[in-house]
């Protein structure tokens, strides 16, 4: 018994596979674009099924698209099929049959509450635990994910259990499932197999012939020589089954009505009792891993090297035939072709392949319980584990099973405690974000709290932007299967329309689609979360970008981008300026879509992981990091080459880009990135740069950004080694009062034409400036500006200008100035 239980535990997952229908010939959709492959449509529809969680339903975990329209469905598995169970334990007691009856009816009921029908109920698709107590429906989503069979070439459902109206082509009625259920119960009660020797066509005739007779149950009993059992049957049960097997669906009970039938009273009390018992005993011997959600187990199974396709191959379900043998002989222009006969490997094979958990269980069994269920608020049990792994590159961490396990468990806890845990969550997210939970983690980082407001937004009334949205959606990240599925298109449309409706002050700018795509991708089954994330994301990073007239905002942003480029990459900035390759020519789509228009999703995810933690200036540093990666190419390119290079951005190494941008972000004082239009959480203080102090014309005239007195003071106090203050006032003024350790270069002595540092004749000036934030200070602003241009031309990094000049330093308290 112990071993069966163990085996049962190890095969909690399974896979089935089939081929989606190929589109005939060459057809286009109504929008003139090529039709979406059916396997993609199936993948999109199946997402909804993953959300279904009920104790009488096997959970759906994944849908994988193979080559040539192969579709693989991964789901939960339990014990064995009812078919096998009935064979192993004949005959089943009536009490047990009722129990099965009841639990399957529960499953159907749950499905119908979600507006789903199974339509393929048969003993193969009813799973039962080896102790015979728990029953789960299996593979019940096939009808839904294939849109009633429209996306697959094969018929859905076993003829023997098929209600007559389904044979006439009517689908979608939950009462057809009730019929199928009753047929299964009849088999168990009569201890028979329905029409075991009959040909398929005769089974169809039999079922259709029921239409002319009443008393289907009696007829079946007679045909299978078990009239005695029929006569001996409990009257209640007989009447119930007879009503379920009414030829007219109208007379059959709904699953909900079925459940409240008095015959199930004892079953009901038993089930309740067991539930209480289970709570008492606890699942003492169950490995800890199996108490985690199945979706996490499956994710870990994949990380542990699980490969569904390989498992299917091992079982002979993916038979590889030499492709050359299947080539057509003639293909007409219309797409019609003459092919050799279809090989049987293409047919629907309903075998179920278990995915074994043994290796995974062993692998994770060594971990302490604290990793499975981390304690967040007890310093005695640090939630941290495997800290040394955090030094490894992200790609490796994302593939390390133990590390991911730990992260997933930790974040699961943190998310459960959100928003109470938001601070800790932010801290952990700064380390890395486990891919499995990225959607909710991002939402938490954006401080989203779902409140049902999404449901109230009108997403349907047509507006003037509909046409543009309609054009953009089929072009938005279509390499991704989810986003290219009809369901993905519909969801994206709803999200975009909802956003437009919710922001009457804004307009739809092309690019909003790309911006929405990552959120939809991560929260495919939770549109509200996707919407609210977007809703919070845009003001945080793209405040005012979606105004009808956004030119002022964009101009300011790009000017700041130029300044920051000069700040971090002076030589590159000088070169780009010299060939007039201005950011307007390449960077608008970068920032308007936060790079989601230029990179594929898997890169955006890593980029945004970090972006979410930064403020509105972070994207600017990403832009500079990209330029930095292309630096050598750019420095040797002229205007035309640069345009060509950016028209189709080359492969950027995202890892490096993320690291670089983070480094720059951290090394740049906040006031350097000051923008008038950025989202502000607090009003500026006396020593900050005032909201409207710096106008666009200043930004455009000054190559170097301004720094606030506050930041200078902070640097002086905390890290004077990172600051180099260049005082441009005259020697006399400098002598009167100055900042300690500042360098005095009187502006009058500077020859701006001679762009070499040595020309300034300050000993070891280069060493004094290198690696520091160079602040140009003067009484006359124009002097600072001109000198800063001089420094940039000399290639000095991190040059900036003190906002409001030297005099502002007088107002700092406590005093920082000294006089000789």
């Amino acid at each position: 018994m112990g071993s069966t239980r163990e085996r049962e535990r190890e095969s909690r997952l399974c896979a089935v596979t089939f081929f989606a229908r190929l589109h005939p010939g060459d057809v286009c959709g109504s929008n003139g674009l090529p039709l979406t492959p059916n396997s993609i449509a199936i993948l999109g529809r199946a997402q909804k099924l993953k959300e279904l969680q009920d104790e009488t339903l096997c959970q759906y975990l994944d849908v994988i698209r193979g080559k040539h329209e192969r579709t693989i469905v991964v789901s939960e598995y339990l014990g064995m099929s009812l078919e096998d169970y009935a064979k192993r334990h004949p005959p089943l007691a009536i009490a047990q049959i009722l129990r099965i009856f009841y639990q399957v009816a529960c499953g159907i009921n749950v499905l119908s509450q979600h507006h789903l029908v199974a339509h393929n109920l048969e003993p193969k698709h009813v799973l039962i635990s080896s102790d015979g107590l728990r029953v789960k429906l299996f593979n019940y989503g096939l009808h839904h994910m294939t849109k009633g069979g429209a996306y697959v070439p094969f018929p859905i459902g076993n003829i023997r259990y098929m209600a007559p109206e389904r044979l006439l082509g009517l689908n979608g009625n939950v009462k057809s499932d009730v019929w199928a259920l009753a047929m299964m119960v009849v088999e168990l009660v009569f201890q028979i197999e329905l029409w075991p020797k009959l040909k398929l066509s005769n089974v169809v005739r039999k079922i259709l012939a029921f239409g002319r007779s009443n008393g289907v149950l009696e007829k079946i009993a007679r045909e299978h020589q078990c009239h005695e059992r029929y006569a001996e049957m409990d009257t209640n049960l007989r009447q119930l089954l007879e009503s379920c097997l009414s030829v007219l669906p109208k007379r059959r009970p709904l699953p909900g009505e079925l459940l409240s039938h008095p015959i199930f009273e004892t079953v009901l009390t038993d089930l309740k009792k067991e539930k209480l018992q289970a709570l008492d005993e606890g699942a003492e011997h169950v490995p800890l891993l199996l108490r985690c959600p199945l979706s996490q187990i499956y994710h870990l199974w994949q990380l542990a090297g699980g490969d569904v396709q390989a498992e299917l191959k091992k079982e002979g379900l993916i038979r590889s035939e030499a492709p050359i043998l299947g080539l057509p002989q003639i293909v007409r222009l219309s797409g019609a072709s003459v092919c050799p006969g279809r090989s049987q490997a293409q047919l629907m094979d309903d075998r179920v392949v278990p995915l074994r958990l043994k290796a995974l269980l062993q692998r994770l069994s060594r971990l302490p319980a604290g990793v499975y269920f981390p304690l967040l608020h007890s310093p005695r049990f640090p939630a941290h584990f495997a800290r040394e792994l955090q030094e490894l590159p992200l790609v490796i961490r994302e593939r390390d099973i133990e590390y991911q396990f730990q992260r997933v468990r930790l974040f699961t806890r943190l998310l459960q405690g959100y928003p109470h845990t938001s601070e800790q969550l932010r801290r952990e997210a700064a380390v890395d974000v486990p891919p499995l939970l990225r959607g909710p983690i991002w939402a938490a980082l954006l401080e989203v709290v779902p409140n049902g407001s999404y449901a109230k937004i009108d997403k349907f009334t047509s507006t003037s932007t509909d046409r543009q949205i309609e054009v953009d959606i089929p072009r938005c990240h279509q390499y991704d299967e989810l986003l290219s599925s009809p369901d993905g298109h519909r969801k994206l449309r709803r999200l975009l329309k909802a956003w437009v409706t919710a922001h009457p002050q804004y307009v739809y700018w092309q690019g909003l689609d790309s911006l929405t795509a990552p959120f939809l991708y991560l929260n495919f089954n939770n549109e509200e979360l996707a919407f609210l994330s977007l809703f919070k994301f845009i003001p945080k990073y793209l405040q005012w970008f979606f105004l009808k007239d956004n030119s002022a905002v964009i101009k300011e942003y790009l000017s700041k981008f130029s300044q920051l480029t000069a700040f971090h990459e002076p030589l590159l900035a000088r070169h780009l300026a010299s060939i007039s390759f201005i950011p307007e020519l390449f960077a608008i789509p970068w920032f308007l879509t936060m790079f989601s228009h230029v990179f594929p999703l898997h890169k955006i995810l890593h980029l945004w992981d970090k972006l979410m933690l930064g403020d509105s200036s972070y994207p600017l540093f990403i832009g500079i990091a990209i330029l930095r990666q292309l630096r050598s190419t750019l420095l040797t390119s002229g205007f035309n080459e640069c345009i060509l290079l950016f028209s189709d951005l080359p492969d950027i190494v995202m890892d490096g880009c993320v690291l670089e941008s983070q480094k720059m972000y951290e090394a740049t004082p906040k006031s350097i990135t000051h923008r008038q239009h950025a989202l502000r959480l607090q009003p500026p203080q006396a020593l900050d740069i005032g909201v409207a102090d710096v106008e666009l014309k200043h930004l455009q005239q000054e190559q170097c950004p301004r720094i606030s007195a506050k930041d200078v003071q902070f640097l002086l106090d905390h890290s004077p080694a990172e600051l180099a203050l260049v005082d441009l006032r005259s020697v006399v003024e400098f002598g009167r009062v100055h900042v300690p350790h500042s360098i005095n270069i009187p502006f009058a002595t500077v020859q701006l034409g001679d762009q070499r540092l040595e020309a300034l004749q300050v000993p070891q000036l280069e060493a004094l400036l290198r690696g520091r934030i160079v602040v140009c200070v003067s009484n006359i602003h124009q002097h600072s500006v001109e000198f800063s241009h001089f420094l940039v031309a000399c290639g000095v990094q991190r040059t900036c200008i003190l906002h409001k000049g030297f005099n502002v330093l007088h107002s700092i308290e406590p005093n920082i100035l000294i006089s000789n």
Binding site: L168, N173, S201, L327, L333, G335, D480, D651
Partner: protein, 535 residues
């Protein structure tokens, strides 16, 4: 089956507005109802024309949705039940043809579900394919190639022999004829000459036929012997080492016969997610790509054998006029230089295709074409000219080969462009669309290296000006690029190498011009430069 039946019912929602007045909002709901539309219906019921927008903020939508859902659920159930009742009654009254339903259902189940299908084992071709593929990825590879070469030698010797004998015969007959003609009106009459001519013709025919039948017998014999030998080798190998090699073997293609000019590029396609492909532009005679495999010692034999049953096949597009299923003469000759061990000899393949075309053209396509295309096939290939069955421009037929140097599959694309008057075509031209179908077929059947004629011509002619060539090449490049981008969504094998073939008699300057167009049409991948960042 009556699936179009619908029923429309009005839904009336009664509510109190914010001032406490009784109001109602109504909408016609059509059944069968799609649950996806529920929210849209709610929106319509709450449209400003029906309801004060204020109600939205008063959470009226929640109650409205609940009531609408209840209404829809009940009515949907009623609709389905009634609809079923109607159909069941019709079936009981005999208004529906039960037998048709029975037949269709049975057919569907038998054709699509393995469980009910009449099980047939894998075909001989399939078994042989598996055996060969396994053997060729073992140490026996060398033996196989050696054997193939020996066989090829025998056949080519025979053909040579035949050619020389026919030539000798020709010469002697010519002499005889000459002498007879010289004697004309002296000792011979024109009738004698005619007789002689007939006699010579018969002799020649006889010699040819004898050789041909000998060749055929020899090829048949070789093929049998070869296949038997492969099978026996495999069963031996099974006993020794049951190591399987995966089918998806990516063998690279060496080009041993250097074409006269060639240039290669690596490109990235796709707007965000980029797929890498190789593009090679070369000038060569198309028959060089389809030269006999064993004519010389080369690595090609090895490559072709390794790739034959793999999922990385090589294909070539060859243009052919529409007269009949006729392949390029030289290619046929090349393919006949040795025995085709894996497929039928090219003549037989072509004969069969010819037969299929006849079937197609008489409109009786349902029997032979596969199920998913039969409907279209019969709709489009209407029997236009009875008795002259032929493919049209843009159609293509396919032959399979194991004894050609650089290709497993030849796509014979029909193109009727007259040789001496180069025309202007656009991207909707049938040949271009045919090309798209070829790429689609290639993607579906794992052909990962494909060669297409970049000018849609195999030879240069006087009228092909430089301007025309540039225009034509640009069109083909751009269309090929478009199709390759599109192919990412087809879900098949990715084309790893696209070869753009230019005629071998192209001038060097024109080649350089056209090769220079490749990087501008296809975005050539920027070289990735590794910079040492440790400094």
């Amino acid at each position: 089956m009556d699936s179009t039946a619908t029923r429309t019912l009005p839904f009336v929602y009664n509510y109190k507005n914010h001032e406490g007045q009784d109001c109602e909002s109504r909408l016609d709901i059509t059944f069968p109802f799609d649950q996806e539309n529920l929210e849209e219906c709610v929106t319509q019921l709450m449209a400003p024309s029906q309801m004060d927008p204020m109600m939205r903020y008063l959470d009226e939508n929640i109650n409205l949705e609940k009531q609408l859902q209840e209404f829809v659920d009940t009515e949907q159930q009623k609709f389905l039940d009634d609809h079923a009742e109607k159909l069941l009654n019709q079936a009981a009254n005999g208004e529906l043809d039960i037998e048709v339903i029975v037949r269709d259902t049975e057919r569907l189940y038998k054709e699509e579900l393995l469980q009910f299908a009449d099980r047939v084992g894998p075909s001989d071709a399939d078994i042989f394919a598996q055996s060969f593929h396994r053997l060729v990825h073992s140490s026996s590879l060398e033996d196989i190639l050696k054997r193939e070469r020996t066989y090829a030698k025998v056949v080519s010797d025979m053909t040579e022999h035949m050619d020389s004998e026919v030539e000798t015969l020709n010469n002697s007959q010519q002499q005889e004829m000459d002498s007879q003609i010289n004697q004309l009106d002296i000792t011979t009459t024109s009738e004698d000459i005619n007789n002689l001519l007939a006699q010579q013709y018969t002799t020649q025919n006889f010699v040819r036929k004898r050789y041909e039948s000998e060749l055929e017998a020899m090829m048949g014999h070789q093929k049998n012997e070869y296949r038997d030998w492969i099978t026996s080798q495999v069963s031996q190998m099974f006993q020794v080492s049951p190591v399987a090699t995966p089918l998806g073997n990516r063998s690279s293609m060496f080009v041993s016969q250097q074409p006269s000019m060639e240039e290669s590029f690596t490109i990235h396609l796709g707007s965000q997610l980029k797929h890498m492909h190789n593009i090679r532009i070369l000038s060569a005679n198309v028959t060089e790509l389809c030269s006999p495999l064993h004519a010389e010692e080369s690595l090609n034999g090895l490559n072709m054998a390794l790739g034959l049953y793999s999922s990385s096949l090589c294909g070539v597009v060859v243009l052919t006029p529409s007269i009949q299923a006729q392949a390029n003469k030289n290619i046929i000759k090349n393919a006949n230089k040795s025995t085709e061990f894996h497929f039928e000899q090219i003549d037989v393949q072509l004969e069969k295709i010819e037969k299929q075309i006849k079937n197609l053209s008489t409109g009786d396509s349902s029997g032979s074409s596969n199920s998913n295309s039969s409907a279209e096939g019969s709709a489009t290939s209407s029997p236009t000219k009875k008795g002259v069955p032929r493919l049209k421009t843009g159609d293509f037929f396919i032959t399979k080969h194991s004894n050609l140097s650089q290709t497993h599959v030849i796509f014979h694309l029909i193109s009727d462009e007259p040789i001496n008057s180069p025309s202007e075509i656009n991207s909707r031209h049938p040949v271009i669309l045919g090309l798209r179908n070829i790429l689609k077929t290639a993607s579906r059947h794992d052909i990962t290296t494909l060669t297409i004629p970049a000018l849609l011509r195999h030879e240069m002619s006087e009228d092909m000006t430089v301007q025309w060539c540039i225009r034509r090449a640009e069109l083909v490049f751009k269309c090929a690029k478009g199709f390759m981008i599109e192919s990412a969504s087809w879900g098949g094998a990715e084309l790893s190498t696209l070869q753009l073939l230019l005629p071998d008699d192209i001038s060097e300057s024109l080649f350089t011009t056209l090769a220079g167009m490749v990087p501008s049409v296809f975005h050539v991948a920027n070289p990735k430069i590794l910079v040492d960042t440790s400094k």
